[in-house]
């Protein structure tokens, strides 16, 4: 890999200090790194592999296996639209279309200002509330395209 460091490694070092430097720590370290950077930068993966004594290929394998990890920078707010059967029937497709109109991005894309990332997920297990949309940590049941502004603003009033 390149010798140049293009991201700040200090946060990664701090995370690595919290765990024993051995293979079983790998996933926890990656989770913390993901939380700290909002994605898994390649330089950090190289550093993690070196620190934990795990081959880089293995680290990359784990990082690409789990959907929770992303190798691309993510938006500050992650929007998940449930595409499960119930949500699909009750109009999840329209929610995705509305997001595309409002933000100009489709599923698995990130806005240029790194504010939002849109993802479609298969089922969040809240079919009774269909269609479900998760903005950041907030769950919106019975989501309607017309209320998209509220959802994106992280609306405080519970309309569920």
């Amino acid at each position: 890999m390149s010798d140049q460091t293009c991201v700040e490694l200090a946060k990664a070092e701090e995370i690595l200090d919290r765990y024993p430097h051995e293979e079983p720590s790998l996933i926890q370290v990656l989770q913390d790194v993901h939380r700290a950077y909002n994605y898994l930068p390649c330089d950090v993966l190289v550093r993690v592999a070196e620190a934990l004594g795990v081959p880089l290929a293995k680290v990359f394998s784990v990082a690409t296996f789990y959907k929770a990890f992303s190798l691309e920078p993510q938006g500050d707010t992650i929007i998940k639209v449930c595409m499960g059967t119930a949500c699909h029937i009750r109009g999840a497709g329209q929610l995705v279309e509305e997001l595309e109109r409002k933000l100009g991005i489709g599923p698995d894309q990130t806005t240029e200002d790194l504010a939002f990332t849109v993802k479609t997920v298969n089922c969040v297990g809240a079919c009774a509330m269909a269609p479900v949309m998760i903005v950041g940590e907030k769950y919106w049941g019975g989501a309607k395209p017309a209320r998209m502004e509220t959802y994106l603003a992280g609306g405080t009033d519970d309309e569920n």
Binding site: M1, C42, L45, P55, L56, A57, F60, T64, F65
Partner: protein, 254 residues
Amino acid sequence: MPTLTVNRRSVTVGDDATILEACRVAGVEVPTLCNFDGLEPWGGCRLCVVDMSLRTWDDDWFKMVTACNHPVEEGMTVVTNSDRVVATRGVVLDLLLARCPETPLIQRLAREHGIEETTYQRNPEPTDCILCGLCTRVCDHIGVSAIASVNRGWGREIAPPFNEPPPDCVGCLACAEICPTDHIKFSTSSTVRTIWGREFEMLRDPATGEAVITKAQAEHFAKRSGVPMSYFEMSDRSKRLKTAKTFEELQVVK
């Protein structure tokens, strides 16, 4: 030393033998794609499925297991050609053929099972990789781990980290040579070897000038074994010549 029956033939094998080994002792052929004697069994290709029953079980009760990684037990009964085993193997080959429709080895195995054309959707982007994991396992085994499986589901593939030339690779070709379908491509000239998009400098025999081994591989082995680098740069021909010379000097051969 457990004794078991394989297709009604009685065999005795070592305590830590697997069903696959017992089958071989019994002279029964069980097809497999992901098994290699020097590596830990993995059970990835699912081609070696057999029916298995223990003495304590009901007479007609059989369980399907992968022979390669199932340990033998005293009084075990193994059937490798029951209808459901043959059918299951057929499904596995059918699926492999859908994934790798142009791979000669898979075509041959499928044909041996009476499958000429896959009944599933043919892979629009034919590949030779059957994801048997032999390459990554052998790479781990020699202590390099330059490649691994990346992504998952239908997007899974074997690749070096970041799909870039792997920094840990030593260019030993173990992955390419163990690959049952010759999916991993490489080229070797008298000076350079290329594999996984990376170029390796070849060490050449000082006497004959033949390219023997990559410098990186020699360094890796020298470090692991403590054997001096000069040992690795000698080609087989060179070693034979040297031995012949020694014998000549000793006047064993005239």
